[in-house]
Amino acid sequence: MNKGQLLDWYYQMVLIRRVEERGAELYQAGKIGGFMHLYIGQEAVSTGIVAAREPRDRLITAYRDHGVALNCGISAREVMAELLGKITGMSKGKGGSMHMASVEKNMWGGHAIVGAHLPIAAGMALGDQYAGNDNVTICMFGDGATNIGYFHEALNLSKIWNLRVLWVCENNKYGMGTAVERASAVVDIRQKAEAYAMKNGQVDGMDVVKVYQAAKETIDFVRRESQPYFLEVITYRFRGHSMGDPERYRRPEEVRQWQENDPIGIFRRYLLENKLADQKTLDEIEARVERDVQDAVEFAEASPEPPLQELYTDIFVD
């Protein structure tokens, strides 16, 4: 980790936060439709994970995907345009908030059916194994996905076929509004990997440096050993499950307590205390984020709607 890298992570984390805060405003203003799930509070997870991958390593995630998309190098302009359903979005406005992908950036979505992308991730790793390369597929999902059949079929397959998958479970304590202990027979979710004789570990997801180190080690393990690995990341979402969440299932004090561990705040202190950046540098990064987000919003708002012919394209190749 060099200083430039660390400052770039800081930029990415603040960018995710601000893109989503602006996105929430645009949603309230009726400019973004459908479901929108904010990643706020979990920025350290995707930032650390994505920073640890090689460009050839594939990334696939669930519907809380804006952060991963930005970390993978999809521009704020494209993310904002897709949120607004514009033709300039990476999926031409056909995917929306839950389906962000860029094959060019090796980011394979954005998947909105809980757990469905886990067998697909195993398949991507199978495709790479078949091709004879040592690419790693990194598959991120929430704690809620570990209770669905997909999870078990996919983990089992990855183990029996020695597929190079890093399974990353973002345990943010709730599947929608149901607490982990009310939905899962084991609260220590990584134990589920034991059932498949799969190596596993756990890391603090509020600290980007720790996430990065864990991801680096486990991606190396997966590549070297040609084995899947299960990494549980303990994190917390500060906002509701989606935009229309009354949050009856948790106390405001609980949220406030976690907010004291804001991943951006933790990383900020880390940079300052270790003299990796001064106040002015960080302020400048934040100002740059502000400009980039403003530019993205203006770009998205000025972009045209998809033409009606787009309704019928991309269904079949031929």
């Binding site: 594939r58 979005g89 990476m90 999926s91 031409k92 056909k94 995917g95 389906h99 992908a101 860029s102 094959v103 394979w108 979505g109 954005g110 059916i113 469905a116 886990l118 067998p119 697909i120 991730a121 195993a122 398949g123 991507m124 790793a125 199978l126 495709g127 790479d128 078949y130 091709a131 059949g149 997909y150 079929e153 996919a154 089992n156 397959l157 029996i160 076929w161 394209t313 991309d314 269904i315 079949f316 190749v317 031929d318």
Partner: protein
């Protein structure tokens, strides 16, 4: 030309495509060491080895999901579902993932995968293992649904399906593997999405596919003895549905029946009849009739099962009814 069974034609298509293209591989339950529960992939494991003929756990979501993922990154998997009834366990994977991913991501990647599935009743397998739910799958835009009725079409269409860059559900019939026919050798492709006249005739049009074709051909022979010449249009592909030969035939005969093995309600017959009414109403001389399965789950007992399935006699009766 060589005379062979439907099973041999399907095996030949698979083998030719595996020999032609190293990115083609097979995965599914008992496809390898066992040789396929319907023996379609017998000998494949020895010839191609475990890398290209992959035995999977009994886990349909894993099978289809793995095929989707491998296709996304450029391979050409052929996933076998032991029966189409097990496709319901992987319904989300098939209709919500395979059929939608390309569209949802703005065409950023292709999904060149084939799902081979065996369907159909008549083998006394009981209600959960005997269904013909083809229309269910044909309902979803984004999934091509192919179901051949002759060995030649099985070969030509399966080869096209494997070369297609889109997801194709390829439905075979459990009682038709021994059906024999002339099959062109070597490179022989039939286009997906093209209906075909399997028997010319002037008096009425029978629209059908797969098992319905076998039954309709027999019915047509009997009708011919009574001087009734039925023209048989084989749909072969349910999505995209090619109505042109159907309409052309109907404009000549002005009378039609639709024969399918699935249930009548919300089925292939309903769709075809509607389209004829919509697009050729001025040519209609008699109500279009549907011959299909009785609206019951298929029972185990042979007599009861056969009573529920469409029979040659039902087709003859319907043909005479529209000619009355």
């Amino acid at each position: 030309m060589a005379r062979m069974t439907m099973r041999e034609a399907i095996s030949q298509a698979l083998m030719e495509e595996m020999d032609r293209d190293p990115s083609v591989f097979i995965l599914g339950e008992e496809v390898g060491v066992w040789g396929g529960t319907y023996a379609v992939t017998k000998g494949f494991y020895d010839k191609y080895g475990p890398k290209r003929v992959k035995d999977t756990p009994i886990a349909e979501n894993a099978i289809i999901g793995a095929a989707i993922g491998a296709a996304m990154v450029g391979q050409r998997p052929v996933a076998e579902l032991m029966t189409i009834n097990f496709a319901f366990s992987a319904m989300d994977m098939i209709v919500n993932q395979a059929a939608k991913l390309r569209y949802m991501f703005g065409g950023q990647f292709n999904l060149p995968l084939v799902i081979r599935a065996v369907g159909g009743g008549g083998r006394q397998l009981g209600a959960t293992h005997s269904q013909t739910p083809d229309a269910v799958f044909a309902h979803f835009p984004g999934l091509k649904v192919v179901s051949p009725g002759t060995p030649a079409d099985a070969k030509g269409l399966l080869k096209s399906a494997i070369r297609s860059d889109d997801p194709v559900l390829f439905i075979e019939h459990a009682t038709m593997y021994q059906v024999r026919g002339e099959v062109p050798e070597g490179e022989y492709l039939e286009p997906i999405g093209k209906s075909k006249i399997q028997r010319p005739g002037r008096d009425l049009t029978i629209v059908t596919y797969c098992k319905g074709l076998e039954l309709s051909m027999k019915a047509a022979e009997e009708l011919a003895r009574e001087g009734i010449e039925a023209e048989i249009v084989d749909l072969r592909t349910l999505r995209p549905l090619d109505m042109a030969p159907v309409l052309e035939s109907f404009k000549k005969t002005n009378r039609a029946i639709v024969v399918e093995e699935g249930w009548k309600s919300f089925g292939v017959g309903s769709e075809v009849a509607s389209r004829i009414y919509e697009q050729a109403f001025d040519y209609v001389d008699a109500p279009i009739l549907r011959v299909a399965q009785k609206e019951v789950p298929l029972p185990y007992n042979r007599t009861l099962e056969q009573a529920a399935l469409p029979q040659v006699a039902d087709i003859i009766a319907a043909a005479k009814e529209v000619l009355r």
